[in-house]
């Protein structure tokens, strides 16, 4: 019997000056090799949950462990085995794509030929190799999104977290990202991602957890088997009221 690679228990995050907690007693377990989607309306707490699980933010209470390692105890070790794709284009725009990959790759423990080969492989895979010497600021949104993703794949993480990885990009770039995510998941990488795109979640995820008001309010296993019903389930669980 396999053991969860991610375990979240009773997670609470209360921002100062906020009336209600952003995360309010979240429990979650993710099994190895899963492709888990965290879906929820605006302000549901998806980004906060991912930020805490990856060690960007401290929880008010609750515990998070990755492969059995508590994130609050040994974040350094956890950071060796996870990859994180932030919602923003988290790149140095004044640097070239290759310089960005070299910088982040060295932080991730890669160097020399190994780093160069891995960067080339990912650049090639996402159609960016020919323009790797250009500064990122001169690139389109779709190209930046693809680079934003492959930075997190440099060290071949066991678990990949993505926060809205396909926001505001063209269809071709989105398709390329989907394809790449499918591939890396197929090689055994656990993927956890947040999105608004229900169709995207249906196509990619092996399981979807619906979040609202900072906690899991429902779950859909194998959403591809229930194609077209995810939206109905989502609205039933989160309501039809408009969100800020």
């Amino acid at each position: 019997m396999s053991v969860p690679v991610i375990r979240v228990k009773g997670l609470v995050k209360h921002y100062r000056n906020a009336d209600a907690p952003a995360v309010n007693g979240m429990d979650l377990e993710v099994m190895p090799g899963e492709f888990l989607g965290l879906l929820g309306p605006n302000g549901a707490g998806k980004t906060t949950i991912i930020s805490i699980i990856t060690g960007v933010r401290q929880p008010t209470s609750g515990t998070v462990s990755i492969q059995g390692i508590p994130i609050t105890r040994d974040a350094h070790e956890v950071h060796r085995i996870i990859g994180y794709v932030p919602q923003d284009i988290a790149l140095y725009e004044a640097l070239t794509a290759r310089e960005n990959l070299t910088f982040f790759g060295e932080l991730l423990g890669l160097s020399g030929q190994r780093l160069r080969r891995r960067a080339d492989e990912l650049l090639e895979r996402t159609g960016l190799l020919a323009r790797a010497g250009e500064r990122v600021k001169d690139w389109s949104g779709g190209m930046k999104r693809r680079l934003n993703l492959i930075v997190a794949l440099l060290h071949e993480p066991a678990i990949l977290f993505l926060d809205e990885p396909t926001v505001g990009i063209d269809v071709q770039s989105r398709a390329a990202i989907w394809e790449l995510l499918h591939e890396i998941n197929a090689t055994g990488t656990t993927v956890v991602y947040t999105s608004h795109h229900l169709e995207e979640a249906e196509r990619l995820c092996s399981r979807v957890v619906i979040i609202d008001n900072g906690r899991a309010v429902g779950e859909v296993s194998d959403p591809q088997a229930h194609k077209g019903h995810l939206e109905e389930t989502f609205l039933r669980m989160t309501g039809r009221g408009l969100r800020d």
Partner: protein, 428 residues
């Protein structure tokens, strides 16, 4: 860990090199500032040794007093004298009021006669006691050389002119007394006495600098010796604007969130930045010292006097501490500012204020007492004093440490506040 720190250093340097406006701010701005300020402050720093004060001279006396005052002011070397020709006092006053001349000196008519009369009267009093001759009871009138001053002229200029006139007139009176005394002695003895030899002052002033010689040159604070280190320090601290701006950009772009999910902690990031900015600060120091040494003399300014290799090593050491203080302050500003505009305004304003009170623009010793007290708490003042210890006072490491320790303390304080603030922000 070392590899990660090197990665941070390389990234910071690449970001700086790619930012042309930033590079201009870090290198061109201090070059321009040093050039302008050294030229502008050259005159005040020369201590009026050159012909600085423009004097309009009117001799209504036409005698020895007018002649000697004119000659004495010429010899003093601090005045550029223009003859007023036939202008009357009102016209002379108007010339000064308009600022055409800073000072006017009018030797009144009959001044020479007054000099002779007063001296003769003094001799009558002295020799009357020997010969038994009676002395006229009424003392002759005094004469006054009139000095008219432009109201915009600094106190130091006024005092310089007044002091020179007092010195000349006192010398003239003494000289006349001796001449008269000689004549009276001849009259009493009936002999022809040796002419009186007017010697140099019995007790003179021998001015020396408390510092030793550097490369065979006695160095004192001049425009170059002040402005080159001063604006180098300013430039080193101005890296705060770039550093804090890049930090804010890093945070707002999401790069910081990514960094927080990668191996390596805050210490590695800060160390990477500190080393990158140390490199910038040391190159700024090199560029500006070279400029002071080789370029400023081409423009007629004093050359920056650099000491032996030991002094250069101390300068490098001081640069490390100054750069550390600047970087730590930049990190502090960068962690508190929410936008790049905030970081630019906050960083530059505080550096400008700390430089103004810290003796960068003008030396601390010419500020009012209260400002001097405040200025001694500015890290830029500690930096300036550290450079002065090396460049002017030829001090040793022991003296230098007195200024490096507060800089180190300031760095630690800034970093401690940053770490605490970031922990609070992360837990919020």
């Amino acid at each position: 860990m070392l590899r990660r720190i090197i990665a941070h250093i390389r990234k910071e340097l690449l970001l700086l090199v790619r930012d042309r406006a930033g590079l201009a701010l870090l290198y061109v701005m201090p070059i321009v500032l040093v050039s302008i300020m050294a030229v502008v402050q050259d005159a005040p720093f020369r201590d009026f040794a050159d012909k600085q004060v423009k004097v309009l001279f009117r001799d209504l006396d036409g005698g020895v007093v007018g002649e000697k005052v004119r000659a004495g002011m010429d010899i003093a070397g601090s005045f550029t004298i223009t003859d007023a020709g036939t202008l009357n006092e009102a016209e002379i006053k108007e010339e000064v009021r308009k600022g055409h001349h800073q000072v006017a000196v009018i030797v009144p008519a009959g001044a020479s006669k007054v000099l002779l009369d007063r001296s003769a009267h003094a001799m009558d009093g002295l020799f009357g006691q020997i010969t038994g001759d009676s002395v006229a009871p009424i003392e002759p009138d005094s004469a006054f050389v009139r000095m008219i001053v432009d109201p915009t002229v600094k106190h130091a200029f006024r005092e310089l002119s007044r002091g020179a006139l007092i010195r000349i007139l006192a010398g003239l009176s003494s000289e006349q007394l001796l001449v008269d005394m000689h004549a009276r002695m001849e009259a009493i003895t009936g002999d022809t006495l040796e002419p009186l030899k007017l010697m140099a002052p019995f007790i003179g002033v021998d001015q020396r600098l408390a510092a030793g010689e550097t490369s065979g040159v006695l160095i004192a604070s001049d425009s170059t010796q002040h402005n080159v280190p001063a604006w180098t320090i300013f430039a080193m601290f101005f890296t705060v604007v770039m550093l804090a701006g890049n930090m804010v950009k890093e945070r707002n772009s999401g790069c910081m969130a990514r960094l927080l999910t990668m191996p390596g902690g805050v210490a590695e990031r800060i160390l990477g930045r500190a080393v990158a900015y140390l490199f910038i600060c040391v190159t700024q120091l090199g560029v500006l010292l070279a400029m002071g040494h080789w370029v400023l003399p081409v423009w007629g300014l004093p050359a920056l006097v650099l000491g032996p290799a030991k002094d250069l090593a101390l300068l490098l050491l001081a640069a490390v501490f100054i750069s550390g203080a600047a970087t730590s302050f930049g990190v502090l500003v960068g962690s508190f500012a929410r936008t790049q505009q905030q970081s630019a305004i906050l960083g530059s304003s505080v550096v400008v204020i700390m430089s103004a009170i810290g003796g960068i623009w003008v030396p601390l010793y010419i500020m009012p007492q209260g400002m001097q007290m405040i200025g001694r708490f500015s890290p830029l003042n500690w930096s300036m004093e550290a450079f002065n210890v090396i460049l002017l006072r030829q001090g040793d490491l022991g003296e230098l440490v007195l200024y490096l320790l507060p800089l180190a303390g300031f760095s630690v304080l800034c970093l401690a506040i940053t770490v605490v603030a970031e922990r609070i922000a992360s837990s919020n």
